[in-house]
């Protein structure tokens, strides 16, 4: 890596104050994955540091290490220059570190004051909670951040922006010195974002060090004083935000070594299979139109929350669009339920395999045949011999190694569970297969196998939709890529237009003019 540095982190010249908190050479390994490799991060009092990186760069892992949820395998955490450890979330909180998460972790049915002070409520006589003090101090804190919220109100009755304010008040109530904001604006309206900016300024004025994680470049350049870039779990560089431009940051984010060879494939693109025209949903997406051909892999790229999975679920009949037409082989089809989708040859391998994929308490063969029971049963009665035959055929095609098809899926490894889920769908002999983040959370070896398999499916004439947040995967696998942002298709790219820079630009909404 080009600027790969550990202890001799290039500190910016303006830094005359030492950092409150610094990470030095932090490494964290999960089975099969090196999530962080000797990364550095410095947070200075009264300054906002933006942590920038693609999905999978290791940002969330750093947050979890900072808040005591994960323990690093190597490296040092320093608070005020002294090496320390956060064995528990409590220890991190005692050290004055607090995080405001993407999905704010609060209690809907408790009052605002209770939410602010839960876990460290002021105590009166006999160790009982001093409600009056709690309410008074809640009021003080809320006033200090300019929030007009009644501490006695139930949290449920507040809007998302106000809930964020409560989360921030909670952070202040423990006398936090370091505030971590993990995509705080993801769910906020424009006006609420402005209010958040003001609040960040207030926190800066109080000398807090702020770590600001965001995918949105306009925010980063508006609010941050410094930046730190991670890529694939590596520290790439850091510096003052006014000394870089968007183009340079994008380059640092995506410029990568080829760490994974994608299967070479020759696309034989055939006739149109699927055509979607004007798919709308009241709250999740709008004006989704595209077509898909036999033998094609169509990538769907976007930031988390761009509406890709929501649209796919609608296409699969789990949710209903308010408007829109689906044509399969030119004929209009109405898809009201997943059963309709499967009957029309569309299958969906969801992102969260644990939750939506396999039924772990059932054996392999029963999982594989579940959507094909129409074929393997007669008048509602199962024909087990047929089931075994079908299950054997498709698990063998995927080279699934298990002692027996009677093995409970819960006893298989993650990669093999994935194979069971894919076998299940292939057994329905689909025309269109939607793979939602097919390689998320699996190790490099299994990733390569999934990619090869995907290429094979396309070669056999299946039309593949691949939803992915990983740029190399989109570039390496797709014949064509559609980019979604805020529920709409913002670009459709293929050939030479399909580059890391164009993907990031369209997904993050950076205008074409703002280049280096």
């Amino acid at each position: 890596m080009l600027m790969h540095s550990q202890s001799q982190v290039p500190t910016a010249p303006e830094a005359n104050t030492p950092p409150i908190l610094s990470l030095d050479g932090i490494t964290k390994t999960f089975p099969g994955v090196k999530a962080l490799s000797e990364v550095a991060l410095n947070l200075y009092p009264g300054q906002v540091t933006a942590l920038v990186g693609e999905n999978g760069a290791g940002k969330s892992t750093v947050v979890k290490i900072l808040t005591g949820i994960y323990q690093p395998d190597g490296g040092a955490i320093r608070v005020d220059g002294h090496a320390t450890q956060f064995p528990t979330a409590r220890a991190a909180s005692d050290a004055g570190i607090t995080a405001i998460h993407q999905e704010t972790v609060l209690f809907d049915d408790l009052s605002v004051a209770e939410n602010i002070f839960i876990g460290h409520a002021p105590r009166g006589r006999f160790g009982l909670i001093d409600w009056a003090a709690m309410e008074r101090r809640s009021n003080e804190i809320l006033k200090s951040i300019g929030a007009t919220i009644d501490p006695a109100q139930k949290l449920r009755d507040l809007g998302i922006a106000s809930k964020h304010l409560v989360a921030i008040a909670r952070a202040l109530s423990i006398d936090a010195r370091v505030v971590i904001m993990d995509e705080p604006t993801a769910a906020l309206s424009h006006k609420e974002i402005q209010e958040l900016y003001e609040l960040v300024e207030k926190l800066k004025a109080q000398g807090k060090a702020i770590l600001f994680i965001s995918h949105k470049f306009d925010e980063i350049f508006h609010i941050a004083d410094r930046y730190t870039v991670f890529r694939d779990g590596q520290f790439i560089g850091e510096g003052m935000i006014d000394q870089v431009n968007e183009g340079q940051l994008v380059k640092m984010m995506v410029g990568r070594d080829v760490d994974h060879i994608f299967p070479k494939r020759e696309s034989h693109i055939g006739d149109e299979v699927l055509k979607v025209v004007g798919y709308d949903h009241p709250t999740e997406f709008a004006e989704i139109s595209f077509d898909l051909k036999r033998g094609e892999i169509l990538g769907f790229y976007g930031l988390v929350g761009a509406g890709r999975s929501e649209f796919m679920q609608s296409l699969f009949g789990i949710t209903r669009p308010s408007k829109g037409v689906v044509r399969i082989d030119g004929r209009v089809r109405v898809i009201r339920s997943p059963a309709d989708a499967v009957a029309n040859g569309i299958v969906y391998v969801p992102e969260d395999r644990g939750k939506q994929g396999a039924i772990t308490a059932l054996p392999i063969f029963q999982n594989v045949t579940l959507p094909s029971l129409g074929k393997t049963s007669k008048n509602g009665f199962l024909r087990l011999a047929e089931e075994f035959k079908l299950a054997r055929e498709y698990t063998e095609r995927l080279d699934l190694r298990a002692a027996s098809l009677d093995t409970n899926v819960g006893n298989l490894s993650g990669g093999n569970q994935q194979k069971v889920v894919i076998a299940k769908w292939l057994a329905t002999q689909p025309r269109v297969i939607i793979l939602d983040e097919p390689t998320k959370g699996i190790d490099i070896g299994s990733k390569a196998a999934v990619h090869e398999f995907m290429a094979e499916l396309a070669a056999q004439g299946l039309a593949v939709i691949m939803v992915s947040s990983e740029i190399p995967e989109i570039l390496g696998m797709s014949d064509r890529a559609i980019i979604m942002r805020e529920g709409r298709i913002v670009a459709e790219l293929d050939g030479d237009d399909l580059t890391p820079e164009t993907l990031v630009r369209h997904a993050a909404g950076i205008s074409q003019g703002a280049t280096t």
Partner: protein, 327 residues
Amino acid sequence: MIKSLTTSREVLLFAAIAVLLGLIATRFPGFVAPSNLADVFNDTSPLILLAIGQMIVILTKCIDLSVAANLALTGMVVAMINVAMPGVPVAVILVIAVGLGTLLGMINGLLVWKLDIPPIVVTLGTMTIFRGIIFLLSDGKWVNSHEMSATFKAFPRAEFLGLPVLSWTAILAVIVFTIVMTRTTLGRAFYAVGGNAHAATYTGINVGKTQFWAFTISGALAGLTGYLWVSRYAVAYVDIASGFELDVVAACVIGGVSIAGGLGSIGGALLGALFLGVIKNALPVINISPFWQLAISGSAIIIAVAVNARANREKGRIILKSAEQAA
């Protein structure tokens, strides 16, 4: 794997029942005489019938607390029909009992499916409503033995190949529902919905509808048991089988049916019911006070749940290569 696990659990329960019978036999050899065991089985038959329905409901991650009230309401209705029209043949009575029970079960199922109300709330409500309806119908009065016709009362006691019809009904239900659960698409859907509702949805199974059918089956069996119960004991009143729903749930839990859904078998429910049946019948014989009967039943439930919880505990990820080979 899961199959051997449940089988071993059932074997374990079977062994527990055998040990229990052995212990009782050391003091009262008469208890294990075939004729007495047949009596115990007959006595446990209503519990077996309801436990089968309950097991299917619990399998889909629901619970049916209204089964005993359903039984009582159906029992009262058929008893009153018998009093008003003694000439109605037993076959018609059976159709009415099963039909009414099915209807009551469908009400539960529809509320869970269409209105998305938690099953425990739905069936707690319908349980109270069913009991209330019995009171309205009967005016709080009892239907007594002398008011019922002889044929009405004779049916569950009629012997066939040495066993009463009541016992045969339970045996038949065990066979039919074992086939339903292991050999039909509906049975597979019950397991899929309880095992992972999201995954079931994605494979095109309608989760709510599957739960609706579970409640319908539970209701049908409760209705059938309603007639058998009232005719066997030759009495119907508001409070018959009061609290029996808890015995039914207990039988399922002891039989290894997971309250979290997706795990369980008809064989397990049968053995769970028999275990409770043996305890209930044996303890008075060896002169143990009713208080101890309750305490022992209660302990059996907790022990069974603890054993099952250990067996079902999620395995951690296998990280060590050596451990993977061993597994």
